[in-house]
Amino acid sequence: MHISDGVLSFQVIATGWIIALILNAIILWRCKSRHDMAEEIPKISIMTGAFFVASLVHVSIGPTSVHLLLTGLLGVVLGIMAFPAMLVGLTLQAFLFQHGGITTIGINNVMMGIPALLAYLIFRYGYRKGINASVLGIICGALGVILSGIFLALMLITTGEEFTEIAYAIVVAHIPVMIIEGIITGSVVTFILKVRPELLPLDREV
């Protein structure tokens, strides 16, 4: 779920860009000082591409269909680089498919990037505590979606009272997506841990 152009107020959009730019700068700087960027750039880009393609899949529930967000999964697989990866993905999505908006890239980045980061932290912490990985996957996948939905609703409400009812409707509409993503993320995480466990950034330091 992303916000398109022309809906939010100037204050919300500006705050979104500021938070997104600061967080991206910190993460990229941190990554630059610890890893070789020449190696990281192609790696993260190709993974972003994979997530981009996967998020175009539509699952039909009853009369409507929803497309996947994969917020939680992105966080679990990419770690903190999920945030800049989300920026790249959203920019391409806005320009190539006209999903979301151009002026709202910043706020969408915050709205979907922060749940991704939280999903990563929860997954890492839970995994070290010895909680079953597929349960953790389900939790992270579901949490990523519902947090994005709640952020979206909060932004609409801060923009104007006109949006209150729509904001509630959006949170309710996220519940089926949350269940679907939870199941998918759980199954992806179990599969990766079985087939290629070194892919998950569990032992790496942040």
Partner: protein
């Protein structure tokens, strides 16, 4: 699955195609950000008309453009039905106790017009320049190299992974799989997604090695030299002028 070919018509010729890419990106972006925040519905409408005018000048095939603009309209159309019922204000109709307000209708149309103007301009901007040229322009505009490279590689690999995804999807459908929202369908789909992620991860290694062997060091080098002409200055001044005017007219 379709390829996201945004620059399929970038080799055509029109005043917008000939517009210097740096000036194009800066002035279009400025105009988009300005039109998105207008509060008067008449100004928003004029902005929408102006962006359609730019689209016409660019001579992009109408089918190509409308298909993409339509998506935004469908996405926002529900607002037009919901907002007259939820926003309080002047009443224009009363359906069995539920009031339909003019203010809600105006507010919803305002949002839709702003969004359509923005998407039309963004589409025209991107569709009239080759994608690699747009990326080189971003370097020229001093956007951080890391981000531009990530944009470029991601764009390139979207095509590759779309192919890979379609191949796997076809072979699963041949075996009788169809994606339904039940536990079995979703967990099988999750396994397939996991496989895509693992395949992409393995690909990153090969791509990195082949890039390094061709001299890649993480620092981009471009050979393009852009030159602004008088026409570019005039056109971008006009666009920036309009962008400022839609907000400043009320103070004059």
């Amino acid at each position: 699955m379709e390829y996201p070919e945004i620059d399929a018509y970038s080799s055509m010729d029109s005043p917008i195609h000939r517009f210097d890419p740096r000036a194009k990106i800066v002035s279009f972006t400025f105009l988009i950000f300005s039109l998105v925040f207008v509060n008067d519905i008449r100004v928003a409408f004029s902005g929408l008309v102006f962006s359609f005018f730019i689209l016409l000048v660019s001579r992009l095939p109408p089918g190509f453009a409308l298909k993409r603009i339509r998506m935004v309209f469908f996405f926002l159309f529900p607002l037009l039905l919901v907002m007259p019922l939820t926003v309080e204000g002047r009443e224009i109709a009363n359906i069995s106790g539920i009031s339909v307000t003019l203010d809600g209708l105006i507010f919803a149309s305002l949002i839709i017009m702003r969004a359509l103007a923005a998407v039309t301009l963004a589409l025209t901007m991107l569709a009239t320049t080759r994608f690699d040229m747009t990326m080189k322009t971003l370097y020229a505009l001093k956007i951080p190299g890391t981000l531009v490279q990530m944009l470029m590689f991601t764009y390139r690999y979207i095509f590759v992974i779309t192919d890979e995804f379609s191949r796997m999807w076809e072979s699963m459908e041949c075996k009788g799989f169809s994606l339904k929202a039940n536990y079995h369908g979703l967990s099988i789909f999750g396994n397939m997604l996991g496989m895509i992620i693992i395949k992409s991860y393995d690909r990153t290694r090969r791509v990195y090695e082949s890039m390094v062997s061709k001299g890649y060091s993480g620092r981009p080098r471009t050979l393009v030299h852009l030159k602004m002409s008088a026409k570019d200055y005039v056109l971008s001044t006009c666009m920036v002028g309009i962008a400022i005017f839609v907000h400043a007219y009320q103070f004059i």
